[in-house]
Assembly symmetry: D2
Homo-oligomer: 249 residues x 4
């Protein structure tokens, strides 16, 4: 069965800044979607903030197994209803991947529970992406380190609170460090934050970065279709609670 992947992006820089449109003529979402489409088990769609209902109308999120999210300039304008839907879907099992400046995106903050603020930032300069958790599926086949010739730096302290696994840590020219690959579990859903991917540089065209994104989508894919939810109907006090002979899913 296919994994239903939705790549969401604000699609703002690409439409308003020619220099960035030149790097991502198909949009950041289009470049990422093309990279993922190489995987035959992924059924990839895109959605953007400039579309009606910010691209999230109808049952799109309910029909999404893995959601990738890129936002930056206008992410404060994302509708709170969508934020709440993302959080509900993650709890039900949807995988969620926040990309680069989406550390400040409302749904990432809603799912992680913190501000997502980085201590600072700087445009330009080399980023080395080191694997901190050797053998993690997301790092499978990935060189150590990955060299990103030009990147936007974010740095520690990164306000994400309690993390599950630290898969990647980046080092920058100024000696700064940043946890650039982090896993979180929320309800039945797996969450990943991935640092590299600034709009001014062709980072999402890099084959190694694309391989990481494919690994990430595999990793956050729910084990089973995330459609069943925990019942919360009142219980009869004369009967034991539980689905005897039933399933916990």
């Amino acid at each position: 069965m296919s994994v239903r992947v939705t790549v969401w992006s604000e699609n703002h820089h690409e439409r308003h800044e020619p220099a960035i449109a030149a790097i991502y003529p198909d949009g950041i979402h289009g470049t990422i979607a093309a990279a993922l489409a190489g995987e035959p088990t992924f059924a990839v769609r895109t959605a953007t903030q400039d579309q009606p209902e910010q691209g999230l109308g109808g049952d799109l999120l309910d029909e999404t197994d893995v959601l990738l999210w890129w936002g930056h300039k206008v992410q404060g304008e994302v509708d709170d209803r969508h934020v709440e839907t993302v959080r509900r879907r993650v709890s039900e099992g949807m995988g969620f991947v926040a990309l680069h400046s989406a550390l400040n995106a409302k749904p990432f903050r809603a799912v992680v529970g913190t501000t997502g603020r980085s201590f600072g930032f700087r445009h330009g300069g080399r980023e080395l992406v080191w694997t901190a958790t050797a053998g993690h599926p997301i790092a499978h086949g990935i060189p150590n380190p990955v060299i990103v010739p030009d990147s936007e730096m974010y740095c520690e302290p990164f306000d994400v609170g309690q993390v599950d696994e630290t898969v990647f840590i980046s080092g920058f020219d100024g000696g700064e460090v940043f946890r650039s690959g982090l896993t979180f579990r929320r309800g039945r859903g797996k969450v990943f934050y991935f640092g590299p991917g600034h709009e001014e540089y062709p980072i999402y065209h890099d084959p190694t970065i694309q391989q990481i994104l494919r690994n990430v989508v595999h990793w956050v894919t729910p084990e089973a279709p995330p459609t069943l939810v925990i019942p919360s109907a009142p219980q009869d006090r004369d009967k034991p609670v539980g689905w005897f002979g039933g399933s916990s899913r």
Copy 2:
């Protein structure tokens, strides 16, 4: 310096149901506040949902070091602005304690990132509260188990996702189990969920439960006044990032 503690409750059952008003004539918030006031370093206030601005007007949350939260019947009506403020304050360091049915409270869900749903519930019957993490400060001086003669059961699976420490686990008459004392870290703030405390039973009058609540407030109290935040001003690209000679707080 005093720890500024705010006990917030919806104050709904107590005002509308005589049987419950008989158990908690001062309100659930009043009973809890009195229990905490025994600790000389705590400066305790109460606030309730039936007050103007749901009790959270002015700078109350910005002047709170530890917030205890009890909600049930009308917690769907809590204003989203308050929810966002609680989340911001926790990130800055405010301790947050969700009590009993507040597993479904908006701010608990916002901070933890999941639905907080319990698999089921049942009114009445004994609850045994076992210490799972011996030696944890919250369990200091607490018998193992604590016996709650009559309680409302919640049970597993409890949709809280990734937890930090499992301090208490309760066992119920029907053989059900529930993680009834859980810690979470979010940003600089410590978060605790505590299960026992249903409005139909005088649980918050129990001296052992009161001792646990005092231990909890001590434990979630921020190490330093949670007033400073991480800077996020743009950085000069010619200067190294960081507060050389400064402080990380």
Copy 3:
């Protein structure tokens, strides 16, 4: 490629106590191995403490992807060399499953880093095994709760320190509770502790328990053959550290 599974057991009760031999005529290891052999991708072997070199001679552990371990009466006599090998293999990626009274087994203690002591125990009585983490692959297709008619109780506090995921929690007739399904990560290896499985009762003959064990073996199976290790050769100080173009595995 097959998953190379080794079921190790002390094989002591079965050889010395007729009542137990009647329940497990093929040994506990034999019953578990037969349950796992139903999975076509598992290549299952057994090894026992009463064999030469305690069953762990030659390259057995180096050729094992998943090790299940049952010990009780004579587990204090397990050779420390074997313990060290288990710990090394887990760090390299071998899955390790400690069963029931193996909470006190030397290799479990070595891998987890604590005493593994339970607060108490009792023979007989019903155990209800509740799924705490709904949607976890180990709980896939498992009723909630699983009913074990007769079991040996262990109870909280369970000295395992910091755990990763709490998959199962059991409730017992006396109201006691016990975290009976726990995951840990150590280096590249996944570790699982599973509570049910006392020698006096036919628990390992139960089809649901057998399904859990198969789920567990799938879950702890390393993502890739756990044969490569992290290099630790001295680095040339004039060259950057890292496998540029190489792999982190």
Copy 4:
């Protein structure tokens, strides 16, 4: 009541290499002990591997609340009995701090459960120690970053498996990164790994590094004297398990 602190070191480089003796004339242990002795609540002792019974005879560890451990050249010769005692004491509540090259020390490996291997190393060059968890008590009053002008680099992947909190991450001249301040919980004990501290450089003479070490000792200090252990006596099957009215400590 005083915190009984023991600073253990192998005391090998200092006795055999004049250049290192010139940096640490009182031994690495002596320099650290002097730095800690400034704190009036600490009662500080030292012990070294070149002493009888490797400095760990008698009841020293049973009378230690916090153990700091520095080892490198001869740490493979540490007696396994001592290793086992350290692990037991940590489970009972003793704080344990592994320093620099003690990532390969037997007791650190025993407590953490992994190999502790770093991906590589390099002598010399600047280390910037960044606070990753702002507001953590160990980072209290510490500049971000701390600048260590000359250090020995260790780098990721660091084989420590599952960590609790990532307090510090270091960046090095070659762009490498290393989680240089990590917390672990094992049983009742708190464990900290701290990276900076190579014998060739006067790092332990640095006032900021000394302040971090004092913060660390405060943080790993057990909440109560770690003398009581969990009972494991057989339970009477006709009586409920537990210390009704007793204490979980």
